[in-house]
Amino acid sequence: MNMMSDLNTATACLLQMADEHFELEDYQSGVPRWCTGCGDNAILAAVQRLCRDENLRPEKTVFVSGIGCSSRFPHYMKTYGFHGIHGRALPVAEGVKMARPDLTVFVNTGDGDCTSIGAAHWIHAIRYNMNLTVFLHDNQIYGLTKKQASPTSPIGTKSNTTPRGSYLEALNPLTVTLGVQNVSFVAQAADWIPEVLFDIVKAAYHHKGLSFVRIIQRCPEWLPKALDPWMHDPNKVQLLNHANGLQFSAGLSRVYKNQLEHDPMDINRAREIASSHDTIPVGILYRNPGVPCYEDLRHSDKLRTADLTRAGLNAELDKYTVWPQGAKEKVA
């Protein structure tokens, strides 16, 4: 009887999954409190579109974030969300994925969250290569705490903690990521080129393994002019195209003439491109679908049933049991 009703529920679920179509509104929650012109808005639009296009079930989708402006992201999605603590979005997301490989897990993390306080987790997340889609919302400044230099702030950035300009060369998240063993997907997008941003978000979602997408985004409040040179001169942006990567529309190519054919399987070339100083490469730098995912290596194929537990526990207890004469037979 029970089994029958279980079966009915399962069938109903499958039918429901096949039938149900979701609209943009099914993923939208509340009115974002980001500033007008903030790059986070563009990322939210691209991701909501992705969810709709891929018909992701809202209850099977989780957005995990840390702390910062960009980490408010999950609040604006009508899926499950986890808005945790500063720097720890990645290990939380890894835990979610390990416990529940059936869930689709996205991570939203800022430049302070990922490359500063959470830097250790970032390196190791690349190495674990769990099937997560990670968006690094990189606006090169701490926004929520009101304008402090971040590791990705260009040298000389004036901020409340560096009033005479920041002292160090900016950290390059792409070269760092590409230097970690087991890296499997690295892309870069810019918030002011929404068409490419969407293509990259989509490619990242479809990659099995950790897809790391750095999105260069504007902060209209604290660094309003920082990205002007690149926005005003399309030639300072280099689009990466390839038959195995992205291909761009004619319209886009008319504006962005600076294009480079780059095979995303070529990691050495990817590292070179990532190191470029003046131009911003946009596209897929590296993609290797052959890197194993940690959850596949580690997730047990055994269901943790009471019978399995009883058998496993008793086998262990046997190793350490002192049996009085005759007692073993009694228990057996």
Partner: protein, 636 residues
Amino acid sequence: MNDMTIEKSVKKPAKKAGATAGKKAAVKLKEHIVEIISDSGEGAQKCGQSLGAIAAQMGNGIWTTEIIPAEIRPPARSVAGASGNRIRIGAKYITNGGDETDLVVAFNEQVLLGRVRAKELKPGCTILLESMWRTNADPKIVASYIETHDKLVAAGYDVREIPMEEECKKIVADARRGKNMFALGMLCYIYSLELKLAVDQIVLAFGKKDQSVVDANIKLLEAGQKWAEANLDFCYSIPAVRATEPQLVVNGNTALALGVLASGMEICAMYPITPATSASHYLSEVFEKVGGMVHQAEDEIAACAFAIGASYAGKCTVTITSGPGYSLKQEGIGLAVMGEIPLVVVNVQRGGPSTGQPTKMEQGDLMAAIFGSHGDAPKVVMAPGTIEECFYSIITARKIAETFNMVVVVLTDAGLATSQQPFARPVFSETWMAPPVDQSPVPKGAKPYDWDENTGLARRFIPGQPGGMHTLTGLAHDRDSHVAYDAEINEQTLRFRSLKLAALQKTLKAPKVFGDAKGDLLVIGWGSTKGAIEEAVETMRAEGKKVSSMHLQFLQPLPPGIKEIMHGFKKVMTIESNWSDRPEDKIIDETNRRYSSLAILLRARYLVDVDCWSEVKGQPIKPGSIRRVMLEKLKK
């Protein structure tokens, strides 16, 4: 040269091995404490563990304690390098490591000196000392050996020089491998233990290797027994009552890991730290067989966050650590409290603060466990008092965590972690297991934090549940899990999270009093001191003293009934292994004295003048010390 001062033991004529020989009638003993110590890697630990297992099989009560040097490979023949095992064997059930050692087997005189200086040996204690150093090629070693030997004899120790190396070399080329089995053979003779049981231990330990290894070890074992029989003029027997039920012999960390196995939890996230790691080692070995996994994270913070993520999306998880690692997890624990995510955190306490004494026993983290994190972060704190409780407390912790959506901290310590004590073999019950992850649709209108007005409890929504979509946040939030900017909501939710502790407290039973419910002195303890305190109380009660004790397994919330119990006694004190200012210090008085942790808690909660006594020597507190303290307290 080493500091050779040895305090006077007792005056006793030293006997020499071989002076008299032949089969002697065994002297009956109620109990004995025996130590086997060597340089690291010489197998004294294995010898001690085997001795404990054999005695347990004979039906004796045992308590074994590992003697661990701080370094992996301390220099050979060094005072700080003693590695080995200490076994208390008794006719009755043994609940703790007991007082000083009665008999010690030492593979060199330097490791022995370490034990003498730590005052771990009983005055007049029998010492079976490897004699090979007397004829060493290095004159410095010879001098050191002779000097130590002579001083020990002069101090009243009963030193027997044993040619272990020489005897072993008759059987194996490298005596370093196998001397421990020779020693085990001697001890089997000394304590009249069945050699057959020792053979079984060898087969168990070396069975996987080739037969020649097993045979050589059995030969060494037999040689040790024969040599002792022919050359020693003493022999003991400790009456034993064979248990009628199967007994489990494991240390506290293995018991914790078995508890995780039995609790139905699926994920343990950890980062290596002494003395907690051995629990995760064992779990790594066995967890996958029952569908679980151990994740070694990149750091303690990540281990906690990983556990929180896994718990949020599935069944309750566990993270295992020790003091410094526990500190690193504090921010994560705050998040779990705020988000109401079930989580079990095990803290195998060690000496602190900072790196402190990683391999030593201390109960210094009680306050950190209760008041740690930031803001008001109510969490449950439990402390097992025995090896058996290490096992069951994990099962209980998992249940509480998932029922109340709370963080449950389980405090053990290095003492429990490395001690063995037999207990009734657990019989698995399905009720120990976590229920399957709820994936049913959420009723329309239900809210992710629908706190009950009276208990603060709310059902949690787990990803995958249709209709339950919400964003969990560490920010103050309302019933919809929406960020709350409203001070009113913030205060209400603080109230709800706090009420859950009271709701749990209502389900707890009053602690049991060990001894009479009324008397002159009540001693209160928590954690690993349980056995020693109860033994001291029992001894004193037999002497006619009106003393009792009470041991708390729940430290937060404190169970009901404690105040009433305290009122039955003229004096109340705690005995703990964490710092309390010494009243005899010149500048310490009632206005500035820092009490031990539990004493502070009890004084604050019940307005009872609870005194305390504490010792923080990195070793379990001995029942003899507790007895002395209680006698003094009775006099005051």
